[in-house]
């Protein structure tokens, strides 16, 4: 079985983002970029499944500008076998990304597609669900535990839902999106980083995949959220309780 993992290049989670003064977006020039943390978890899970003998090959896919190759190299250094870079110089809505992943899935025939539950830039939380719909596959989103049964061709997945966990069993092929608790992604070791340099990355274009680009959402402006005005420093617990009771009315 093959596993396809989508990895997105995003502004590093530790960077304090800046909204551009012309309100067209967020500044991504000269900012540290990394693999989306949820995608790292997705890739880690795919690698563990392979290491447990349930899968033969892990393929990392990234869609975006030429620098996505760096993100793919990171994935290859973690242990993915090969990469696919779908080159795109404009950013796509999740629906278009889902269509690209669907047509890649039709070529590669993976038994599982792993994605992060959301990217920490646009926070959409849509792509996995959409790929599953387009392929007509079952979905298990927000996974915190994945157990494969190779004989039955089934994945049993614990999902993080509001106020608890839900367990689903899905027939393969399926789409799984990953939540934070699923695993702790590994760091790439130096020998593996060196090895990753010789692993293949296939370049493709959106035209190669015959995907029609949907742009039915227009971004009008991106602004900074209203700043919290700084508050007061109180000197004692009594003063704090008094403020919470009589000024803020929250206790």
């Amino acid at each position: 079985m093959k596993i396809l993992v989508a990895v997105k290049r995003v502004v590093d989670y530790a960077v304090k983002i800046r909204v551009k003064p012309d309100k067209t977006g967020v500044d991504t020039q000269n900012v540290k970029m990394s693999m989306n943390p949820f995608c790292e978890i997705a890739l880690e899970e795919a690698l563990r499944i392979k290491e447990a003998g349930f899968a033969k090959e892990v393929i990392a896919v990234s869609i975006g500008p030429s620098q996505c190759v760096d993100t793919l190299r990171t994935g290859l250094a973690m242990g993915a076998d090969r990469g696919i870079h779908v080159e795109a110089n404009s950013s796509f809505l999740p629906l278009t990304i889902a269509k690209i992943l669907k047509s890649l899935a039709e070529v590669e025939n993976p038994g599982l597609i792993f994605l992060g539950k959301q990217a920490i830039d646009d926070d959409c939380n849509q792509t996995g669900q959409m790929v599953a719909a387009l392929l007509g596959w079952p979905q298990a989103t927000f996974a915190s535990k994945v157990v494969l049964d190779k004989d039955k061709n089934v994945a049993t997945v614990d999902r993080e839902v509001d106020g608890g966990l839900e367990t689903l069993s899905v027939d393969l092929p399926a789409v799984i999106t990953t939540d934070l608790r699923l695993n702790q992604p590994r760091y790439a070791t130096l020998p593996n980083i060196m090895k990753a340099k010789s692993k293949p990355i296939k370049k493709m274009t959106v035209q190669d995949l015959k995907v029609d680009i949907k742009s039915d959402i227009e971004i009008l402006e991106v602004t900074e959220p209203p700043k919290r005005k700084s508050g007061v420093i109180v000197s004692s617990v009594d003063e704090l309780i008094d403020k919470l009771k009589n000024e803020a009315h929250v206790v």
Binding site: V26, L95, Q129, S144, D162, G163, T167, A174, I233, L240
Partner: protein
Amino acid sequence: ISTLILAEHESGSIKPQTVSTVVAANSLGESSSISLLLAGSGSSLQEAASQAASCHPSVSEVLVADSDKFEYSLAEPWAKLVDFVRQQRDYSHILASSSSFGKNILPRVAALLDVSPITDVVKILGSAQFIRPIYAGNALCTVRYTGEGPCMLTIRSTSFPVTPITADSESKKATISQIDLSNFKEDSVNRSRYVGRSTQDTERPDLGSARVVITGGRALKSVENFKMIEKLAEKLGGAVGATRAAVDAGYVPNDLQVGQTGKIVAPELYMAFGVSGAIQHLAGIKDSKVIVAVNKDADAPIFQVADYGLVGDLFEVIPELLEKLPEKK
């Protein structure tokens, strides 16, 4: 404007976030009709339907899909159901709340309809113009839907509070119609099955929707000390949160992590103990109404966003709070 809302219900009643979604639908424009779609099976579904009919005065119709297929809220049959309903009646908008239910199902429906959905809407500016947070709320994005299909949104319920319904409007009841499912096709529907559910901590409210959240950082130093945070949360009827550092140190499980990659919270009262205020953490709490910070380090960044700061040792402050705070209302 005609809106279809994917409704959530549990043990015979509509969930509050669905009512918030009705409030949001109401602000889409004038002369809007709002239909609630409930799916499930048996008497608890019918009970929820009759409650839904009077949950908000602007609900005009309640549609009920009663079948074993919908006993659990699986995305596959639900997505087909919404598509099925939409083929019979036209809707300009399809909404769900940004709960784990809505986030799981609505994008799947959208892909079936070839529509780009807009998730986590916090403000509605018109029938096709919305504001949603990006970068964990560190920026706000105003978008316009320009597509031809129905406009599909998930709604962040904390942004659309429900005003108490007066006795007068309560008497207004929407019509309830059962959906004829005889032509409902099931292909690919039986490929996922519900196995079970475990709810944690039923005594404490859910972190994402709690009115009060008490968070501890690495300064708590141990699992035992973290129990003080839990006690304080119990006293105030709140939920417990933690920073990534506290989670990484193993004081509490991962699901309590608050911040950019954890849970985003917006309670009325957020109290942070021994939390320095890393940006990823602040991103997850900035929509809280009142933020209280207690930290030994007067220069900790958390004080820049706190409404009330107390520079002090949390090991002295928490016991004193436990003693002096009034019991929860």
